[in-house]
Amino acid sequence: MNASAARFQHRPNSAPVYLDYQATTPVDRRVLDEMLPWFSEKFGNPGSVTHAYGREAEAAVERARGAVAALIGAEAREIVFTSGATESNNLAIKGAAHFHRELGKDRVVTVATEHKCVLESARALEREGFGVTVLPVDAQGLVDMDALRAAIDERTAVVSVMAANNEIGVLQPVAEIGALCRDKGVLFHTDAAQAVGKVPVDVDAMKIDLLSISGHKIYGPKGIGALYVRRRPRARLAPLFDGGGQERGVRSGTLPTPLCVGLGAAARIAAAEMAVEAERLLGLRRRFLAGIRARLPEVRLNGDAERRLPGNLNLSFPGVPALALMEACPGLALSTGSACTAAEVEPSYVLRALGLPDDLAQATLRVGLGRYTTDLEVDFAVEGLAAAAQRLAAGERVTAAAGGPT
């Protein structure tokens, strides 16, 4: 066995190589270190501003709010902490629709490749009598600007288009969409859970009114996210939760100080390291794709090749069922698509929206590269995937030959 083959030997007891950074990311050690004191010795309720423990927690929450705002070019008071991007998306879409219904705006426009929680929020509104337009995408996964322009009218309350897709990594033309919506006087919401901290996002330059952020997609903790809510011109929302009136009445509930601190720390690190890290990931992505294509020329990349997250690949292996391929690679932690639907056998609705036939959609894996992915891991994964895919494809041919007419 030569040295390079030994390197690719998987040790059965070691943890698989993590290639599912779009599902969730590990908490960065630096983030964890900032969070830990706020769990234990500094445990005050940030709403308890009448005493020292409460004020100390409140100050920490406000510092974190500032860091989150800085990452997207917002003001601190435009950031509302939530329990995560799902809540942010629900709050933005349902909240904007409910608030504007009385003003005669009872329509919502979104796109077929949005995250499930955006589409489900729109469907919930549809059941309440709102008009919902779900726009198609082209074969590269990009929204058609003319179709979007045509879909917006004076009764549109909110347009929701994600910044980066969670399965295919495609970056929508957010700045163009923002300009169009501002021009039409319609609120623009973007689910930026996958984009923030990975690619530059600026709420003013992109004319974004509402923007969803997730903690656990940017090496922060789970259970925390944020919604950016523009103040000038003001984006008005009806709250999802009423109660103690925290977060200026937009989102009641005790603020979880350690989680807020963690999101703030994650935002600060992302802001400082994004440019360099994006370049590094782009290099890894190219290395991965070139490696796979050298071995398996028939592999197909889904989603626009350039306008995508630096750390995302979505690859179809014609004739190789994705679940079998994952099973054949126990040393790799991969997914077939969104984690929310990971256990489903249905082909991805995102890939269907791109026009992929079902058999190809079911031969597709998502590869998520991130902060801790190394060259070595990429090479190991390429080798393992390519060998397994070849084995499975050959097995299939053998089966077909054996079972076919002689």
Binding site: P16, D20, A23, T24, P26, V27, L32, M35, L36, F43, G44, N45, G47, S48, T50, H51, A52, Y53, G54, T82, S83, G84, A85, T86, N90, H115, K116, C117, V118, E120, S121, R123, H216, K222, G223, I224, L240, F241, G243, G244, G245, Q246, G249, S252, G253, T254, L255, P256, T257, P258, L259, P330, L332, A333, S338, A339, C340, T341, A342, A343
Partner: protein
């Protein structure tokens, strides 16, 4: 030099139990989305289900599947009260804001001057209501600690075809808790009030109840609450529930400290008024008024002396508002404006109580001297 800190605001939030801190820290150090099918995901799923069973055990729930994890008590209360859109909601007048304000047209059920729900009034409201109803009654009040007759209210509600929701946020971990025995169809829990981390709670929903989700999306929590689960928080919540069940007896000592504090404060200020002193109450809570001295003044004076208490619920404004709880009990506004909440916990010491008594006594002496 800043004074020694005496934390007596446990009903606002409690410190993390060491076991919960360990479980949270362990989960934070691991990566995995419980919905992912690979090994990281499967391990996360296992930890999630372990915690679900621990939470279910705290309230004697038969099925862990009845536990829906949420971002906290507020979300759980909203989910319960907005989750049955066909039902008319009735809430007691002393509920937490997250219950009172969950639905705009909720009927208020009055409480007696002793601070417990008026069960006759509840029955009359249910009889007069033509729609099916949902009654929300907390197990113990967050400001006074007064325990509510939830089982009796549930019997009345069920007799009239209504469901009963019980906000057990303050009671959980301080009192033995059995959801089935109480007859609560729905029950709200919060981790950070019982030694778990903030940012996680649960709604427990009786099997087969058609709850409508508030957060829609990825179908987590059997479609009843979308969003990637806050696994470190949930793991900490589960661990805190286990410890809380094991250590309920510690609250006997807490009650003794609380009662000693009450006796000493009344000895200093014979005109002080204690709310709920002669009725079943949480073992850790003391709601007391020093007549003639505004709550804000007391809280600030105590804060300067390192003693942390509150003037009511710890929520948003930072302003001290008159308590709707004391209002509902018919306490005169001038007296209610002078009430503070002192709440103790499992690590409260006699020294904390000494510090409270000394600071409160000094304030009392100052104000009485300047009044004379």
């Amino acid at each position: 030099m800043s004074p020694r800190a005496a934390y007596l605001d446990w009903n606002a939030t409690a410190p993390l139990r060491p076991e919960a801190a360990a479980a949270t820290a362990e989960a934070l150090a691991r990566c995995g989305n419980p919905s992912s099918v690979h090994r990281f995901g499967r391990e996360a799923r296992r930890a999630l289900e372990t915690a679900r069973a621990q939470v279910a055990a705290l309230i004697g729930a038969a099925a862990p599947a009845d536990v829906i994890f949420t971002s906290g008590g507020t979300e759980a209360n909203q989910l319960a009260l907005r989750g049955f859109p066909g039902r008319h909601v009735m809430v007691s007048a002393i509920e937490h804001d997250s219950v009172r304000q969950a639905v705009p047209d909720a009927a208020l059920v009055p409480v007696t001057p002793r601070g417990v729900i008026d069960l006759d009034a509840l029955d009359r409201l249910l009889v007069a209501e033509t729609r099916p109803a949902l009654v929300s009654l907390m197990l113990a009040n967050n400001e006074t600690g007064i325990i509510q007759p939830v089982a009796a209210a549930a019997r009345i509600a069920h007799g009239r075809g209504a469901l009963l929701h019980c906000d057990a946020v303050q009671a959980a971990g301080k009192l033995p808790l059995d959801r089935a025995a109480l007859g609560a169809d729905l029950m709200t829990l919060s981790a950070h009030k019982l030694g778990g981390p903030a940012g996680v709670g649960a709604l427990v929903v009786g099997e087969g109840l058609p709850l409508m989700a508030l957060l829609t999306g990825g179908g987590q929590e059997r479609g009843r609450r979308a969003g990637t689960e806050n696994l470190p928080g949930i793991a900490g919540f589960g661990a805190a529930c286990s410890v809380a069940s094991d250590r309920l007896a510690d609250y006997r000592a807490v009650a003794a400290l609380r009662d000693a504090a009450a006796r000493r404060l009344v000895a200093i200020a014979p005109d002080a008024v204690i709310y709920g002193g002669d009725i079943a109450r949480l073992p850790n809570t003391l709601c007391i008024a020093m007549p003639g001295v505004a709550s804000a003044t007391q809280v600030m004076a105590l804060d300067l002396a390192g003693v942390m208490v509150s003037a009511g619920a710890a929520c948003s404004s930072g302003k001290v508002k008159r308590s709707h709880v004391l209002d509902a009990m018919g306490v005169p506004p001038a007296e209610a404006d002078c009430a503070i909440r002192i709440s103790l916990g499992w690590s409260t010491t006699a020294a904390d109580i000494d510090q409270l008594v000394e600071a409160w006594g000094a304030l009392y002496a100052r104000t009485r001297a300047s009044a004379a």
